[in-house]
Symmetry: C2
Subunit: 294 residues, 2 copies
Amino acid sequence: MQTGLEQAKNMTVGFIGLGLIGGSIAKALKKRLGVRVLAYDTNEQVLLTARHNDIADETVSEIGPAFGQCDIVFLSAPASHNLFNMRIVLPHLSPDAILTDVSSVKLPIHRLADDARAGLRFVGGHPMTGKEHSGLQYAEASLLQGARYVLTTSPKTDGLRVERMKQLVTAMGAVPFLMQPEEHDRAVAAVSHLPHIVSAALVGLVAENDDAKATMRLLAAGGFKDLTRISSSPPELWRQITLLNAPQISLLLDELIRKLQQVGKSLHRSDQDALMRFFEEARDYRNTIEEHKE
Amino acid sequence: MQTGLEQAKNMTVGFIGLGLIGGSIAKALKKRLGVRVLAYDTNEQVLLTARHNDIADETVSEIGPAFGQCDIVFLSAPASHNLFNMRIVLPHLSPDAILTDVSSVKLPIHRLADDARAGLRFVGGHPMTGKEHSGLQYAEASLLQGARYVLTTSPKTDGLRVERMKQLVTAMGAVPFLMQPEEHDRAVAAVSHLPHIVSAALVGLVAENDDAKATMRLLAAGGFKDLTRISSSPPELWRQITLLNAPQISLLLDELIRKLQQVGKSLHRSDQDALMRFFEEARDYRNTIEEHKE
């Protein structure tokens, strides 16, 4: 394993899955460090595009021995596929390689790495960036620029590999944040996964309750559209994510339901003070988030 | 009462409350029809600004006999104040005048109008427009341009007055939609009031569950910000609105809670099919809303 980025040009970086995120990281690393890129994807057309556009130097149609030449391998397919692909690529990796991923849930993949005796070489990753559209055609190096990039470790993770990943993330233009997988999964359950479920539930409610004249759809203004825009993203991705992070989501979902039941009681009792506190608490905390806006 | 807009220049339009919406309507009517504007507001500074900027031709410091000269009076204060102000202005109105409002809940004000024997002259109104900021300084005629403007009627409402309001709304540049108050209140409960409550509940959940390092706030990305932006609006306004529309909101809130409990069960059972249907239903309906985007 190389211990610095001085020899980065001789470095080979592998990608298993080359969509919006994997493609953007590949572009950023080629542009900033001039690394060599090896890519696998289930979609042959994607690999063709990657070669034609110099996003990948070499592509392969299976997860096999070719990945033995990589210094670093990114598992960059949808979350559940990364779990599956990790088992397949492990026997082919060189002993010094770093294995990392870009999944939005971190505990299951750390557990799998530990179970598969790959805890030492695995460093979890979650770049907090994205677009409304997915796919390699939307990938660009600038997507990583200034983005928060969470790196997660288990007690088994090799400290030297973590340092190297921090350097690599910084080299992409992103900002590394070290975290425990549990911390990460709990936080994204609150600020990403649960909001997604709630957004879908609100849309479902309107779909089921609208009248024949579509009055609700007619009156759906900017606020509703903002609130439910994320419901347009691919159902399959969200099924995978919510199932993988089900334990953390469930805890917060129960708490949200209790909170909504409490609001229901306040409305029933016309409890002015309770409603005022409820809206004020939200306004005050929301305003602290706005200040941190990128 | 005038039966057309041909004599609009001789028309006097009264506003009780001159904020973002009342001010924008006043500006639009002056610009498009050249009407005379009489305004009352609890804030003297607002009235001064209105006179200096030719938004109002005359201002008064109480809701009194001056409103007897008006052909149309807009109740354009926050929703609960409009109920209060209706009782005060009624004895001063000329027999031919139209009384209207801009409240985002319509059944309570129609009931009050009927109880106060003003059902004949009252036409409910709800312009579906707004801004993140409130106050007369943000008012502009263009806010009404192309906006959906709901007009509500009770069985007692005078048809001629409804026609005249439709003409007036069209003259503002907005698009009138006739509706029953119950229809309106049920629809906005679903696409505006309940989403607002849910947004506040999500923010409250994060406020209460974040750790000492503020990990959740750190990881709150674009989706969460979009979803919770409406929580920044004034708590007092939302307390009034949710209490006035409590019956409609409560019905839908119960249904939303059942839906979330169902998702909780699907997560617990790892029910892939149920989760897929849940996210697909939302995606499919949400995409039909996007097509109708202004």
